[in-house]
Amino acid sequence: MIIKQLSYKFDTQDTDYFFDHLYAEFVPHALNIIMGDNGVGKSTFFSILCDNISAHAQLTATLEVGGTGYEAVNNHMPNAFVQHVHMVQQQYDAMLADQFSFKQNLQFACLPCYPGLHALPQAQLFDIINDMNIDIDKPAYLLSGGQRQLLAILMALQKSTKLLLLDEPTATLDKKNAVLIMEALAKLAQKLHVTMLIISHDHGLINNYAARSFVLEKDEQGKRAITLVR
């Protein structure tokens, strides 16, 4: 996946661009870790990619994913691109229906835009669920933090996702669970052909699991750039 050019202002009235001709090339079907200081714009970058931006924002972008080119239209990412992008936020609780089981949550993630009078759709049950010994009939509120995080990730992968954005997926987890999640992500990226961009500050995990790691930083003139670190 190549971001050939991305320029973004929070408001058309702003004089300076927040991102000015940003360029980045990510490894497809693998984990790409993005680091950077707090407030530098990592979450904003993710919000732009999944088109979660204000109506007053100004955006131009040219991207290439799997040989297909996309261009921002009317200050928004094109629908054809956005429909394959999903984001798992740091506060992933908002993505779960706590009272329902692990399996039902996966099914809920497959619901259409206008739920109808049909039975719940079948969900994709991944091998990783067995590997982690998860009881899929257990209500989500009884799952551990790592299992809930994994559930949020698997829910995001239910709808033909090509690009998965993960905002600090291991921040609230202990070392053991963090390792399990990173292993699961690496396997899923390869198996499902999903490119994953992960915001993380955990250097140990980055060295072990990242296909490539980048840093988003701001120079003295305030211009932001995504630089390859490893």
Binding site: Q83, D93, A94, M95, L96, A97, D98, Q99, F100, Q104, F108, A109, L111, P112, C113, Y114, P115, G116, L117, H118, A119, L120, P121, P139, Y141, M155, K159
Partner: protein
């Protein structure tokens, strides 16, 4: 004894659609939808206007038309309150208070404060030649159909979507599902059922009063709290409103048996609701049970 039992069941059947509607809005969507009180009256107003003004028509056709009219009346209230919440971005408590005021005025414009239905055709007497209790049979049939349809709805995507909304209202935006659609259809359905109940009450008692919706939200709360206390289970079920409504009228009949004056019954209901909720919130730490009891 049989007579008391029949009265209890008949009253339960009249209110079952209302309590099922309240179950959808109060318990599944988890919103304080006071507009069911207006929907209850407007449903009865729409149906009674049709009964009083319709040209002579066969009873089965009239019955279908009247039932549909009462549901449409209730659904209109639901559309207004849910649009105020979803499009006007008002908290739903405010939306339902505003909607109550609006439809109180509209119902006064459409109908006198008291309307006798004794001169109008009774759409519930469809089986008058076949049975000794034709109205009871009709109420039983309507109650059974409503309960079966809603039980089936609870097995569908839409039924689950109502329960998901109450569990986590932000859920849908993460998966490209229309929150407004789920909310508006849920409130419309709840209010349509309240409208149907309003008509069944008015028809069974042969009169309509514009203040008959007063305290119906409390009736629903009491029935739902009783139902949730008696029906155990982690997921939603049609049995909660059904058992709750039955238990409510058993309780009412027991109080009559001990010579309790029913004009004070709302105070008893309020005490029951407050006591069970305070008990459950203070003493039950398990999240699922607390969520289930919360209305």
């Amino acid at each position: 004894m049989i007579d008391i039992l029949l009265v209890m069941i008949e009253q339960s059947l009249m209110y079952v659609p209302l309590v099922i509607g309240a179950y959808i809005s109060f318990s599944l969507l988890k919103v304080p939808d006071l507009s069911i009180e207006s929907a209850y009256v407007i449903g009865a107003v729409f149906a009674s206007q049709l009964l009083l003004n319709a040209s002579p028509i066969s009873l089965p056709v009239l019955m279908v038309m009247v039932l549909v009219a009462s549901c449409i009346g209730g659904a209109c209230v639901g559309v207004v309150s849910s649009l105020l919440t979803q499009r006007g971005k008002l908290p739903h408590l405010l939306s339902s208070i505003i909607t109550n005021g609006l439809f109180h005025g509209i119902s006064q414009y459409i109908s006198p404060i008291y309307v006798s239905l004794s001169g109008a055709p009774n759409a519930l007497l469809l089986f008058s030649s076949d049975t000794r209790h034709p109205e009871f049979v009709m109420l039983l049939l309507i109650g059974a159909v409503v309960a079966c349809v809603i039980a089936l709805l609870f097995q569908t995507q839409l039924g689950y979507a109502y329960a998901i909304y109450g569990n986590n209202a932000q859920f849908f935006s993460n998966y490209g599902i229309s929150t407004a659609y789920v909310f508006i259809t849920g409130i419309m359905l709840a209010n349509a059922l309240a409208g149907l109940s309003g008509y069944l009450f008015a028809q069974s008692n042969s009169f309509l009063e514009l203040n008959m919706g007063y305290t119906k939200a409390l009736l629903c709360l009491t029935a739902l709290i009783l139902g949730k206390s008696m029906v155990r289970g982690s997921t939603f079920s049609i049995m909660v409103p059904l058992v709750g409504t039955g238990a409510y009228f058993v309780l009412q009949q027991l109080l009559i048996k001990v010579d309790f004056n029913l004009k004070y019954f709302t105070a008893v209901q309020a005490c029951i609701v407050a006591a069970i909720l305070i008990y459950s919130y203070r003493n039950i730490s398990e999240r699922s049970i607390r969520d289930n009891l919360g209305v």
